[in-house]
């Protein structure tokens, strides 16, 4: 098995789409045959389990594993849709002080033996939870909305990655990718919204992808389906393209036919409505 890769999904600012992006990217990596685990680092305010649709299956969590109250295999929740996808939920009842570097390191090292991708969903802010989520990362997906406060906070988190990550402390660098979410091409065109190029230029980070503002994102989160595993929609294709880029693969050809729009309706997929 090739070397495991640890990727943090981070942003500084809250509500920009870190958890949605973690679920989308993790599920897509797994769908393409890579054994993937998504970890919720938001201790006390977990939500990745809800977005992944496994909230009723949480028994043990990340903190239980750190404190040796459960084994890793007991805490990992196997996705029911993708056989290569696993979720490590955060604890809902403890606080972030439960995350100590030594304990987190132990869990990450164990996961590295089993998984090809370890995706760390960072909490907002630059406190302990966020620092622990990014500390072990080799690559970072910086989730940014084309909006002033989000761009500023992304710049701040890039600074933290450059100074406080393990790689930075070893004199190396975390590979950073910019993922612009909730983008509205028409508004950017009219000059009402920062353009992709504006954001990329300010942050000076390579662009991984642009996810359009889409009603499909809410529909997927309502149902606990990672957007990349949901019925066809614009955000799903944008995330799939971003994952291709992350893997260094050519972009997938979007198959669409004249009945393309009908695929969005459950009844035409033979699913219960």
């Amino acid at each position: 098995m090739t070397e495991a890769k640890v990727i943090v999904v981070t942003s500084g600012k809250g509500g920009v789409g870190k958890t949605t992006s973690t679920a989308a990217i993790g599920a897509e990596l797994a769908r393409r045959g890579n054994k993937t685990v998504v970890i919720d680092f938001d201790i006390g305010l977990r939500n990745l389990d809800l977005i992944m649709g496994c909230e009723r299956r949480v028994i043990y969590d990340f903190i239980n594993v750190i404190n040796n109250e459960a084994t890793l295999s007991q805490a990992l929740i196997k996705d029911k849709r993708e056989p290569n996808l696993y979720v490590l939920p955060a604890s809902q009842t403890r606080n972030k002080d439960a995350l100590q570097q030594e304990g987190v390191s132990k869990v990450i090292e164990q996961l590295k033996k089993e998984f090809k991708f370890i995706i760390c969903d960072s909490p907002a802010g630059i406190e302990r939870g966020a620092l622990m989520a990014l500390y072990f990362a080799e690559e970072a997906v910086i989730v940014t909305n084309p909006e002033v406060s989000s761009v500023r906070d992304s710049d701040r988190i890039i600074g933290v990655l450059n100074s406080d990550s393990k790689l930075a402390k070893e004199g190396s660098e975390v590979k950073k990718h910019l993922l612009i979410t909730r983008f509205s091409p028409s508004r950017a065109k009219r000059g009402e919204m920062l353009s992709v190029e504006d954001v990329r230029e300010i942050l000076a980070v390579d662009l991984l992808g642009v996810i359009p503002e889409s009603p499909a994102v809410l529909s997927a989160s309502n149902q606990g389906i990672p957007i990349t595993l949901d019925v066809d929609n614009d955000a799903k294709f944008a995330y799939r393209a971003a994952v291709s880029k992350l893997l260094g693969e050519p972009e997938p050809v979007q198959t669409s036919n004249k009945w393309g729009f009908l695929k969005n309706i459950r009844i035409f997929k033979g699913e219960p409505v």
Partner: protein, 85 residues
């Protein structure tokens, strides 16, 4: 029923799915906070597993433990699946 109605129906459907899921999660969450005692479910799960394992070959995921709050009482739901063979 027009296609537009179907789309609307699906959207309504996803919102009601969200509401149902949230009601369960939130009731569980409140139960944990108001009782202000350590979450005993992991320990309960561990002990159940130990007991059932004495009699039959069973894995962690075959035992599901859920606590739901329903107003002034709670429902402890145990699901133990015993694999055939």
């Amino acid at each position: 029923m027009s296609i537009l109605d179907l789309i609307r129906f699906r959207q309504k459907n996803s919102a009601s799915a969200a509401k149902e899921r949230l009601q369960i999660v939130v009731s569980h969450q409140r139960a944990g906070i108001t009782s202000n005692k350590p979450d005993f479910l992991p320990q309960l799960h561990k002990e159940l597993l130990a007991v059932v394992s004495k009699y039959t070959d069973i894995a962690t995921e075959n035992i599901q433990v859920q606590l739901q709050n329903e107003g002034d009482f709670s429902i402890l739901e145990l699901n133990i699946t015993i694999p055939s063979s």
